[in-house]
């Protein structure tokens, strides 16, 4: 049977390619048949002439017979399809404007939606693309009474306890991120971001090496932790495959490590991408009970198959109870904060604490969805109008025997051709979007890295738009089925002025398009005003001319402990500062341990005050620790509200002093002068010497609810975060100043590594959650506006073209240009007015609901509304004036001729 089927198929295909031959042979065969018939008839006594006539009469219509034979070969369907396709292409070229509008709409729709979808997936929904990422969890400690459900970091004793009790997990790994190593490149030093991890991390994430292998627990033990895995980026930088780095030794912070493998570019563990992964080797003292308050580490784990997140969390809660039995001292903390172990899906963990980010990106997705709806309206509307414009022709064909299936197929082939074109152009839009994303510095987002187009989302968008197009494409056919054919055929000229149902549909399209663009624009306006309001906030420091230089002082060169700090770090700082200050154009310079508003180096300590007793159950205040040198406040442009700055005389030999932040004073020192009072941290008393103006210390996307305490650099050796950040106030060209300051620091110590950044760039990075949605919203709102004006233009100009004959008659009868113009404009302005009203009412209702969400701006501010109305009116005017103008320029005799 199957052989037969193959034979049949082969014959069909051959027939397709031998169509012309088949055609000729058919005619020859018919000719031959006629000849035989004529011969027979002559033999029966007819004359040759009569016989021929009789034969032809008997034979009937050759064309019908030919069609039947073609049907036997099964090549008629193909022929019809080719005809439909040709017809579609002809239609495309005949109505160039409409084709352009539909194709452009589709391209923009598919392109922008895919971009937005991919962005949201990459940044918010699925930032980690590990194998089985849905089974990978971030395990940590949480303090429900203080921070709700967000998972915090753990200490080494916590990790050790979790590792021993991993019933719910198939593997567990430890991550200490945000470390830096000096990589010795013989004649220069390169700073490499390093994650110190346990071998378990490789199992948890399921990542595969690009080259070499990853370290196992045995590797770690045998090498005493001196093995390293490099990132693909660093590997390529060092020469990649050619350099045969795997197996070689690298010097990191003065120690030798053997490179055993290369991790793929897509692999990262926490917020920042690491260049190097080395084993975290624990020292015995790190397991001591007193280390359990050092919550500085992350734990990742993979759930055993069949274990749900809830089950794992339940198990973790009971584990914390067992932990408390070993460390009863922590019970108090638990009562106060509800502390326990917990876990969260790794892909949720990244944005869990950063709700603003999630919201911002979801709003982008919402905006693009509106773009999609407008796009569907455009395409649907245009196809519908075209369908109705042809309804008479369709009715005629149906009356002559064409099946509805045949007519529908023709309509659909045309739609599919549009989509193929639109899809091709959407690739261009996507390319542009990717380039654009680089312009808005998407790469600044720490975990964004590379993002690629996901074909699925492109298909989903295409499917939605195609659905809309097919739905509207079939509507004229439905009216054909519903009503008497003769009605359409008879209606003749009347359809020139537009049938009722068509008119209703067209009005609905115009109204919904106008109202949707109004809603979108107003929403975009409100969102942008809100985000802008955040950006206008006073951050408490100046950015102009300020540059930061982060210089780590690794232990292998600067040692550790108080003596080394004073002898090496402080000396280096002083010499570097002297050198920097001698550069022309440098106004001021100082040091700190973190750049304001930066996301990194955020260490907190709780403190108590001499005059203030915490109430029962009141959480202790915690403060961000800043370590500064005298002159820091002047350099960054932060005012001191009360008291004095640190002085060179505040040293380890004098009384410990601190400067507190404005909000600390406002909260705990109402109506008092805090200067001179004392504050207690780590059981040590310190005197408050000053109060600094409030500074936006953290990026805007992080909750800011804590206080800031400044410590003098000379009094504390262990608060520096292992690095010195020089802050310099310069004038003149920043680039040039930056280079000369780097040079000055390297002259003091040629082996340090410097990471320099202007405050402007820091600010940009810290405000990307505001800027990016702003840019994206503006962009998509612009696209939506473009689309709906295209759509409006298309709808109105189509009607005008259709009414050309009518206008011709009117003008022939003496109607002036103004009259025609009024006729065209009058009809559309009524629709636009309706659309505006609907849009305004809906957006007012939505916006009044939004007021509490966007607390910074009045969401129903009339300025936004009036602005949008003017804008939309202008666009509508533009979309109507051109077709109207064209309507008055028609050549009367020509239009009436045909």
């Amino acid at each position: 049977m199957s052989v037969r089927w193959i034979n049949e198929f082969r014959n069909w295909v051959t027939a397709l390619f031998r169509k012309d031959t088949l055609h000729d042979e058919f005619h020859a065969e018919m000719e031959q048949h006629l000849d035989f018939m004529i011969d027979d008839l002559t033999r029966q006594g007819m004359s040759r002439e009569e016989a021929r006539k009789e034969a032809l009469k008997q034979f009937g219509n050759v064309e019908f017979l030919k069609e039947d034979c073609q049907a036997s070969w099964g090549i008629r369907i193909w022929d019809d399809f080719v005809n439909d396709f040709r017809f579609a292409i002809r239609q495309l070229f005949k109505h160039k404007v409409h084709t352009a509008i539909i194709v452009l709409t589709l391209a923009i729709c598919m392109g922008s939606n895919t971009t937005a979808y991919n962005l949201v997936v990459k940044l918010v929904s699925k930032p980690y693309d590990y194998a089985d990422a849905d089974q990978v969890v971030l395990v940590g400690k949480k303090w429900p009474k203080l921070q709700g459900d967000s998972i915090g970091q753990v200490s080494i004793p916590h990790y050790a306890f979790l590792e021993e009790n991993t019933e719910s997990f198939s593997s567990i790994g430890f991550v200490a991120d945000g470390n830096f190593f000096d990589l010795d490149l013989n004649n220069s030093t390169r700073r490499v971001a390093t994650d110190k991890i346990t071998a378990g991390v490789w199992d948890v994430t399921g990542v595969r090496p690009v080259a070499g292998r990853f370290f196992s627990q045995e590797d770690v033990e045998q090498s005493s932790g001196k093995v390293a895995v490099l990132s693909e980026a660093l590997w390529r930088e060092l020469g990649g495959e050619d350099a045969q780095i795997v197996g070689e030794q690298l010097r990191l912070d003065g120690e030798s490590y053997q490179v055993i493998g290369i991790a793929p570019e897509s692999f990262y563990l926490r917020y920042e991408r690491a260049d190097v992964w080395v084993p975290r080797v624990f020292k015995p003292w790190e397991f001591q009970p007193d280390q359990r308050n050092n919550h500085s580490f992350s734990v990742v784990a993979k759930l055993k198959s069949g274990v749900s997140h809830d089950q794992a969390n339940q198990r973790l809660r009971s584990l914390y109870e067992s932990f408390l039995e070993i460390h009863p001292g922590d019970r108090l903390e638990q009562e106060r904060t509800g502390a326990t172990f917990g876990s969260v899906d790794i892909n949720v963990s990244l944005t869990q604490g950063l709700e603003q980010i999630g919201m911002a990106f979801r709003s982008i997705q919402f905006v693009t969805l509106v773009v999609l709806v407008i796009g569907c309206l455009n395409v649907g509307g245009m196809i519908l109008l075209k369908g109705y414009a042809r309804i008479q022709e369709l009715a005629m064909r149906k009356a002559m025997g064409a099946s509805v299936f045949r007519l529908a197929r023709q309509v659909y082939v045309e739609i599919v051709v549009y989509f193929l074109l639109g899809g091709a152009f959407s690739i261009l839009v996507l390319k542009a979007a990717f380039q654009g994303s680089q312009l808005v510095q998407i790469d600044d987002i720490p975990w964004a890295g590379e993002w690629a187009i996901d074909a699925n989302s492109l298909l989903v968008t295409a499917a939605i738009a195609l659905g809309a197009a097919l739905l509207t494409g079939v509507m004229p056919l439905v009216s054909l089925l519903r009503r008497e054919l003769m009605e359409f055929i008879k209606s003749g000229n009347r359809s020139m002025t537009g049938s009722k149902s068509k008119h209703r549909l067209q009005s609905a399209f115009v109204i919904s398009q106008v109202s949707l663009s109004v809603i979108l624009l107003i929403m975009a306006g409100v969102l942008i005003r809100n985000l802008n309001a955040v950006l206008q906030k006073d951050v408490g420091f100046d950015r102009e001319g300020r540059i930061a230089f982060e210089v780590p002082h690794p232990k292998y060169r600067f040692g550790e402990g108080e003596e080394d700090y004073r002898a090496k770090v402080l000396t280096f700082q002083e010499r570097a500062l002297l050198s920097i200050c001698s550069i022309p154009g440098v106004i001021n310079a100082s040091t700190t341990n973190r750049i304001p508003i930066d996301v990194r180096h955020m260490n907190h300590s709780s403190f108590s005050m001499s005059h203030y007793e915490y109430e029962e159950g009141e959480p202790e205040a915690t403060a961000l620790r800043l370590v500064t040198r005298p002159g820091y406040f002047d350099t960054v442009g932060t005012r001191l509200i009360l008291g004095r700055d640190f002085q060179e005389t505040d040293t380890h030999q004098t009384e410990r002093v601190v400067i507190i932040s404005q909000n600390t004073m406002e909260r705990y020192y109402q109506g008092m002068d805090p200067v001179g009072l004392s504050i207690s941290i780590w059981g040590k008393d310190m005197k408050i010497v000053g109060v600094a103006e409030q500074v936006q210390d953290k990026p805007f996307f992080m909750e800011f609810d804590q206080y800031t305490i400044y410590f003098p650099a000379k009094q504390w050796h262990d608060l520096s975060n292992g690095q010195t950040t020089f802050v310099v106030h310069t004038q003149g060209d920043s680039e040039q100043q930056l280079a000369s300051i780097e040079k000055a620091i390297l002259e003091v110590d040629p082996k340090v590594t410097i990471d320099s950044i202007t405050f402007d760039d820091v600010y940009k990075g810290a405000t990307f959650t505001q800027r990016l949605p702003m840019i994206m919203t503006a962009l998509f709102a612009g696209l939506a506006l473009l689309l709906s004006s295209l759509g409006l233009y298309g709808l109105i100009s189509f009607t005008v073209t259709e009414r050309t004959k009518e206008f011709g008659i009117r003008m022939a009868l003496g109607a002036g240009r103004r009259n025609i113009l009024k006729r065209v404009m009058g009809g559309s302005s009524w629709l636009i007015g309706c659309g505006l009203t609907v849009g305004l009412v809906v957006s007012f209702l939505v916006c009044s609901q939004l007021n509490p969400v966007f607390s910074d701006v009045n969401t129903t501010n009339p300025v936004t509304f009036v602005g949008v109305i003017v804008f939309v009116l202008a666009i509508c005017l533009f979309a109507t004036v051109f077709p109207a103008h064209r309507a008055t320029r028609i050549n009367i005799t020509r239009t009436l001729q045909y």
Partner: protein, 111 residues
């Protein structure tokens, strides 16, 4: 044009008749129709409107093949020949027809 007393070939049996006629040796379309009429003593008639679609259908199914032969006249004539597959199909259809006609006769006789 069917004349009085002539019947169009029974629906579904045309293929069988064509296969049977072609099985006797290469033959052209017109001759097939004439032969069916002759052998059935002018009871059955085959119109070209059904003959040629049927021939093309059988050719597509590879039951028959065709080639242009220069025969009695000077013009080449399209001749049809039965294939191996066609022969098998003919046997199947013959058997099927026997079964059906036996069954029908049985009903006619005994009802």
């Amino acid at each position: 044009m069917p004349r009085e007393g002539k019947k169009d070939v029974l629906l579904g049996t045309l293929d069988l008749l064509i296969l049977r006629v072609v099985s006797s040796g290469p033959i052209h379309g017109y001759a097939i129709a004439r032969r069916i009429e002759q052998i059935s003593e002018d009871v059955l008639t085959v119109q070209q409107g059904s003959l040629y679609p049927a021939l093309h259908r059988l050719e597509k199914k590879a039951f028959i093949t065709s080639d242009w032969q220069t025969g009695e006249t000077s013009k080449p004539v399209k001749m049809y020949t039965l294939t191996v597959d066609g022969n098998r199909q003919l046997e199947e259809e013959k058997k099927h027809w026997q079964d059906v006609s036996n069954a029908v006769n049985l009903v006619l006789r005994q009802a």
